[in-house]
Symmetry: C2
Subunit: 513 residues, 2 copies
């Protein structure tokens, strides 16, 4: 079977099931059902605090084949996932599926659990490091399912992804299960990605190293969703919680790209009062924010909101009055955590509110401008941020395809060549985000506009920006690097790339090394 | 059939269905199911703003027999319910059930709709004024269903009360349906009672007189739950929104009762760091708060939280550091609205978080001391706040039975005699709150302790408080007033009193005038 993008996808995949093929970014709306939820009601006088993960595991029904979930707000500093899986593995439980919103290098111990059959499934929106490598190498029994930040809450709410037990790393929790991420040693700010887990899992266990007296305020996740609160010594290493990628690039090429991207935004006509904006936390993407900031100041524009994973750069724009509000699903640095805690204009949002296509309208639907990265782009404007040019998993959508679909102007910023390889190809190794929702690609050598956006091509033709076709841009790159060879893969599907609506946009096959 | 309190209740009631009899305040816990929800997903580019209630009614499927819901945060100033029902009635729709969290005198136009068959069902937690009278007089086709503030969200979440369309009066809404109650001409503060409606209704329509640019922050009810936003001239009269009952009594009898109640609280040993407290907004109840405040200051006690409908008196206690936090489901005055808006220690809560017995633990479960009112109390400590001594509906539980069940010490404060009638009877006209969850009755002439609370009787016997049996207290009253005659009622059931768990604790029969 080929889906609408021409990607070869089996009808049925062992360990996954029937495949619903991707049919277009907006093909799958209409009325949807959020699934019912089982709740163990709590009587007055019943207590929730437990003194160890083991005590919690004693309280719940563990069995082979369960799905357990985790959020990734502690990022590469997270201790929760490893400690929980270790404790479960010790009990001889097998065949676990890990539904983590993202997986980082710190989660390397999962590789051993994959090899010995404790962990046989992984569902995540982003996977980097040894676990990604091990999945690509075929060590996970079932194919990994790679979702998006909006697709994951959709899957949870619809029942497509049923969570037996959610383990929620809680920087602060009170004795009755109210949770926030703004206080404590492992303060990480917004807990947006944990919300659907808390609302829909059969059992919800908060794990905290900062147990406080009732009530913990502010409340990001309410006591009404939490079965138990487990006190541990530490849920994470603050140094790993703050990502290292949130710095504006100093590379002159990256800065040039940022300037050009900002000129594209200006030419689009969207830089006016009410502008809404999101950018990733990559160095070039943040440089676009810095350029846009100057432009907004010069034009005296007040934007409506900036959204996303929030960094100090965006917080500064809020403080300077360039945006009225921020929507924050994840804080990338301590400036963001502090602002989220103290500034009522800096509003939290759940993953569902951020990007779920099947609720009554996510925040991404209101985005004007989205700045995206890319590992590869093809001449249909499809973007890969899931696999490297060697075919090995090294990331995933995160909010990439959610924001691309929702925003009026989705701009990919990237060097034309990375590691001596051209970024633009005839065919990306893996489609993460469909070309129909990518409007512009900005490189240091030229700018290509999606031919569907005739309005934008016209506007850019009135500028002195180096607009060309994507084929021309590809040609420029290949002149320098030559045409790269296609990756050879086996037939074995090691990961399934689900589009935000739950259809399969692509699969990752095991590369032949 | 008699339920566990000995109340005669039919097995089956026409217009209501099978009766699940009340079996005790804590008989009905365990695992419960929250029902699935239908969601009309909203694509990028789709808009939600409509210019009139009629435009909204054009968009949705109206039919005879639907259930429509309203919150009561605009109280006796509410314009939303009347205007919506008027617009629906004009279209010839019949047999509507109104699921309003409470109904006030301002909703008098419902009486005409009841008489002509437009409105045939009413579900509410509190009903006062002409609608209450008309229900008692038999003008509503089906018996009214009287729930509690915690029982209503339980019923909605479980599917027992299915809402076809929720109309949410929104003091402020943005163009995409984010709602708050803290800004706008009709600012009423917390919108806690509207939360379950927004989450579970088939369709959710925000009605606002303060439509603002996206995004409206803070967000109390999210865009992800709202289908349409209707702009109207006015959703309510601010003068009616602030209740007139929120003043400390000046009556010396009331003040005496408050002093005695506070001595009971002191003797109970609960006045220590971490104390949690709630009081109704009646004059005597507020006087208890004033007394408790002095006691806490003298003892240098810092409480954990005060909860409930919040008044300026409670806000002052927060400001003075007597409580660490407030939990607010409803603001009773403008001081409360302002504090809820500006003070992060003043936290909102949904009706479910406040009192739902079937979630993972409501705020009422953590209450130490609850001060309650009463219309009648019987020698089993059952309390009536639903009907007057003439048998006519004049109120309802609100949070009465929720807080009584949850709190460690539930104290009823009341004059021994009101309107020449004794408050304590052999048998209350209607049971709102079961005696098992009422601990103490404090009157100006004496204090009766529930015989189940031997611990408390012992503690009070060590004070000079006038402790006596409830029979003795009844005797005192009857010496002054004589024994009142029982009310005569017909067999016709005009209202069903549901306990918070959905069982039937009593019915209201039509009084014979």
């Amino acid at each position: 079977m080929k889906n609408v993008l021409g990607r070869e996808i089996p009808d049925y995949i062992e360990g996954y099931g029937e495949v619903k093929p991707f049919q277009g970014a907006f093909a799958n709306y209409g009325t949807r059902e959020k699934v019912g939820v089982k709740v163990s009601s709590v009587k007055p006088g019943e207590e929730k605090v437990l003194n160890s993960i083991d005590e919690a595991l004693d309280k719940i029904e563990l069995r082979d084949g369960i799905t357990i979930s985790f959020h990734h707000h502690l990022r590469n500093g997270d201790f929760v996932l490893n400690n929980v899986v270790y404790a479960i593995a010790k009990r001889g439980i097998k065949d676990i599926t890990i539904a983590a919103s993202s997986i980082f290098p710190v989660h390397e111990p999962l590789v051993e659990h994959m090899k010995n059959g404790v962990v046989t499934g992984i569902v995540a929106n982003y996977i980097s490091g040894p676990v990604a490598r091990a999945i690509s190498d075929g060590y996970l029994k079932n194919p990994a399912v790679m979702m998006t930040h909006g697709g994951r809450p959709r899957a949870i709410e619809s029942g497509d992804l049923h969570i037996d037990i959610a383990f929620i790393g809680a920087p602060t929790a009170d004795t009755y299960g109210n949770i926030n991420g703004v206080y404590g040693n492992a303060a990480c700010g917004s807990l947006g990605y944990a919300v659907a887990d808390a609302e829909y899992a059969d059992k919800v266990i908060a794990i905290t190293d900062n147990l406080v007296a009732y009530p913990a305020c502010p409340i990001e996740i309410s006591q009404i969703y939490v079965d138990y609160v487990v006190k541990v010594d530490s849920i994470g290493d603050p140094k790993g919680i703050v990502s290292g990628t949130t710095r504006i690039t100093k590379d002159p090429v990256g800065l040039k790209i940022a300037k050009m991207a900002t000129k594209v935004i200006e030419a689009s006509g969207l830089v006016k009062d009410g502008l809404s904006f999101q950018t990733g936390a990559g160095g070039t993407s943040l440089a676009v924010a810095a350029e846009l900031k100057e432009l907004m100041k010069n034009k005296e524009v007040v934007g409506s909101f900036a959204a996303g994973g929030i960094t100090g750069y965006i917080v500064d724009m809020l403080k300077e009055g360039l945006f009225r509000n921020l929507f924050d699903v994840q804080c990338f640095d301590l400036d963001a955590v502090e602002s989220y805690r103290d500034n009522p204009k800096h509003q939290g949002m759940s993953g569902s509110m951020y990007g779920n296509p099947h609720n009554k309208g996510a925040v991404v639907n209101n985005l004007d401008v989205m700045i995206l990265g890319a590992t590869e782009i093809d001449t249909d404007f499809n973007v890969n941020v899931t696999t490297g040019s060697d075919g090995v998993i090294m990331g995933g959508s995160g909010g990439h395809s959610d924001t691309a679909a929702g925003s009026k102007l989705a701009i990919v910023v990237t060097n034309l060549i990375k590691g001596r390889l051209p970024i633009i190809k005839d065919r990306v190794t893996t489609v993460t985000t469909p070309g129909e929702s990518v409007d512009v690609v900005v490189t240091e050598r030229g700018i290509a506009v999606n031919p569907n956006r005739k309005d934008l091509i016209e506007k850019l033709n009135n500028t002195n920006l180096p607009v060309m076709t994507i084929e021309e841009l590809k040609g420029l790159a290949e002149k320098m690097t030559g045409k790269p060879e296609a990756i050879e893969t086996s037939d074995e599907v090691v990961a399934i790339v689900e589009y935000r609506d739950g259809t399969v946009i692509d699969v990752v096959r095991k590369p032949i090394a």
